[in-house]
């Protein structure tokens, strides 16, 4: 099959074949792509076309193209609104709070898993800690509400057993973010270890043998061999997380939100949902959503650039 070294094995088309002929040869592969291509064009690129209503006064009657342009009016209204800084602060603080607590924990847990031999105990702990990943947001919110119920919640009972007066976690705005973050840790720390365990499997055993010869303790070896091995994975995940600092999702926040904790629980995404779908201010909320996406994209590019400069690891 191969005519010269430049042709990769498996590349059936010889380099002398024209582009058109190589495309024609595998025409069925384009057929394979069609459903996915249509899906992404319609449901991902379609809404991107719809973003223009952020710069228009959209009315359903006139449609996306027919509505009049208004420039940056909606953005100005949002930036000048009294809730702009509150929303930004809530979104950023919730995001960084979650990152500060939720990001290191799977790393530590994965390093701990890696230190014990494969056996019943390890398997049990893994199976149990992975399980909450499969609990739906609705059930998760239901559990949080039930456990923290002021009259009968088990967590409230436990706190009171120590003689401490339990705060009203769900209606006190000061507690909303902690409840959100801690429950997130409970649900996703175990599952988060998998990606690090995969990376840890690649540690060269010879490094450990050499370190043992030199008298390095277990702890030292974890710190100086295992941890450095997974640094690239950590970097990639950190970049992805940083690129999503304004991306606090509405799914969970929306379920835990109530009128009493609103001042700390209202984030950009829930605001977009409320003003857009509940109050039908389509153009305005699209503008707010666009602001959110643009900041996220800028963050991602910026953090990726920093990572590229300071380490060898980056997304692209």
């Amino acid at each position: 099959m191969r005519k010269n070294g430049r042709v990769q094995p498996g590349n059936l088309g010889s380099p002398t074949q024209s582009l058109g002929r190589r495309m024609l040869k595998n025409w069925e592969l384009y057929l394979f792509m069609t459903p996915a291509l249509l899906y992404f064009l319609i449901f991902h690129y379609g809404p991107m076309y719809g973003i223009q209503i952020a710069f228009k006064n959209f009315t359903p009657v006139k449609g996306i193209t027919g509505s009049p342009w208004v420039g940056f009016d909606h953005f100005e209204r949002f930036f000048n609104s009294y809730y702009f800084w509150d929303l930004l602060w809530n979104t950023l603080s919730l995001s960084f709070y979650e990152l500060a607590i939720g990001f290191p924990l799977p790393i530590i847990l994965a390093l701990a898993f890696n230190e014990i031999r494969n056996g019943g105990f390890k398997k049990t702990v893994q199976t149990v800690t992975y399980a909450p990943h499969f609990i739906s947001m609705v059930v998760m919110a239901g559990m949080i509400i039930t456990f923290l119920s002021p009259s009968s919640g088990i967590i409230i009972r436990m706190i009171e057993a120590f003689g401490i007066n339990a705060p009203d976690f769900l209606s006190d705005p000061r507690w909303f973010k902690t409840v959100y973050v801690i429950s997130g840790v409970w649900q996703s720390t175990g599952w988060g270890t998998i990606i690090y365990l995969a990376a840890l499997a690649g540690v060269d055993p010879q490094l450990h043998e050499a370190a043992i010869m030199d008298g390095a303790s277990r702890f030292k070896r974890v710190l100086h061999i295992n941890l450095p091995t997974i640094i690239p994975t950590i970097t990639i995940l950190l970049i992805l997380n940083m690129g999503n600092v304004l991306g606090v999702g509405y799914e969970k926040v929306l379920l835990l939100q109530n009128n009493l904790n609103m001042e700390s629980s209202d984030v950009i995404s829930t605001f977009v949902y409320r003003s857009g779908l509940v109050s039908a201010q389509y153009s305005f909320s699209t503008a707010v959503g666009l602001f959110n996406s643009v900041i996220n994209a800028i963050m991602l590019i910026a953090v990726n650039r920093i990572a590229k400069r300071t380490s060898d690891t980056s997304l692209w």
């Binding site: 498996g10 394979f32 792509m33 996915a36 809404p47 014990i116 609705v138 009972r157 977009v272 389509y282």
Partner: protein
């Protein structure tokens, strides 16, 4: 690793390590056990805190109320329907595309992949997507729940990586020499060799459909079409405890036995959590390695 006498500091480190893992186990396991116990315990003992680990005052009334509730049955039926149809669509979109992208002789694969990847980092957002679904006339239909999530870039990458690493190039070459078309090659040779990735994909997508509530919240306006998660939202989060949500049986014998409506509500809540989460949690330990495999395949390339 070589077996070398552990020093004292190493032993201490190992002990701390075990204690840490044990702590993680207890912290994650306790709420799960508590819910199971609470769902079959006397609600009075649960709310007073007397029941804190093992069931006390056994009762199955919570489950009776849940199973007597027509809303939950309808929700269950809808969820199964949406999950099956949605997952089949996901597979039909993801697998052929992932296979095409895995072929190095597929002209334009970098362009297509790039086009898909862009959507991971930039999206039109909630409102333009909603308006699109509305304009397509999908409001209040199954289409609104399954079409906007017909594929995920992440899963396409995972499946593509699988095809690249497990389908030998020689196989494809030999098939082509024998005059086998790409369609036959995919259906008769590639798919039968790919049952692990089909399982992983079906599981990832299936769990997603089973647990999703937000699309139903914004796109459905008919109670009869609500999936289980929307019924759960009414019971668990909004805590609507009308006769309708808790079931007609409240007016029957059980209600007579339990004077306190709040207690019934609490009991129903625990039971409903178990009933809705059980299918996923029960099959998960058996399929765990597939899920883990999926994440690992993804992380190699990711």
């Amino acid at each position: 690793m070589t077996t070398i006498r552990e020093s004292r500091s190493d032993k201490l480190f190992l002990i701390i390590n075990y204690v840490y893992l044990l702590l993680a186990l207890v912290v994650v396991l306790y709420p799960l056990v508590y819910i199971i116990s609470a769902s079959i315990s006397n609600p009075k003992l649960v709310s007073s805190g007397e029941m804190w680990l093992f069931p006390k005052g056994l009762t199955l009334d919570g489950y009776k109320l849940v199973f007597d509730n027509p809303k939950i049955w309808i929700g269950y039926r809808n969820t199964i329907f949406y999950t099956v149809i949605g997952t089949l669509l996901n597979l039909a979109v993801t697998l052929p595309a992932a296979y095409a992208l895995s072929r190095s002789d597929f002209v334009g694969r970098h362009f297509f992949m790039g086009m898909f990847l862009v959507t991971m980092f930039f999206s039109g957002g909630l409102i333009p997507t909603y308006l699109l679904v509305k304009n397509l006339g999908l409001i209040n239909s199954v289409g609104a729940l399954i079409l906007p999530v017909a594929a995920s870039v992440w899963n396409i990458i995972v499946a593509r990586t699988f095809f690249q690493s497990t389908i030998p190039k020689e196989l494809q070459e030999a098939a082509h020499v024998d005059g086998c078309t790409n369609i036959r090659l995919f259906l008769k040779i590639v798919l039968p060799l790919s049952s692990p990735i089909i399982a992983v994909m079906a599981l990832f997508y299936g769990v997603g459909h089973w647990n999703s509530y937000f699309p139903s919240l914004i796109y459905l306006n008919d109670d009869m079409k609500y999936p289980l998660q929307m019924v759960l939202r009414q019971i668990l989060v909004l805590q609507e405890m009308s006769a309708e949500t808790t079931g007609a049986a409240i007016s029957g014998d059980i209600a007579q036995a339990m004077a306190n409506k709040a207690e019934i509500a609490a009991l129903v809540r625990y039971a409903v959590i178990i009933v809705s989460t059980l299918p996923v949690i029960a099959v998960y330990p058996f399929l765990q390695r597939y899920f883990v495999q999926g994440v690992m395949i993804g992380s190699v390339k990711g």
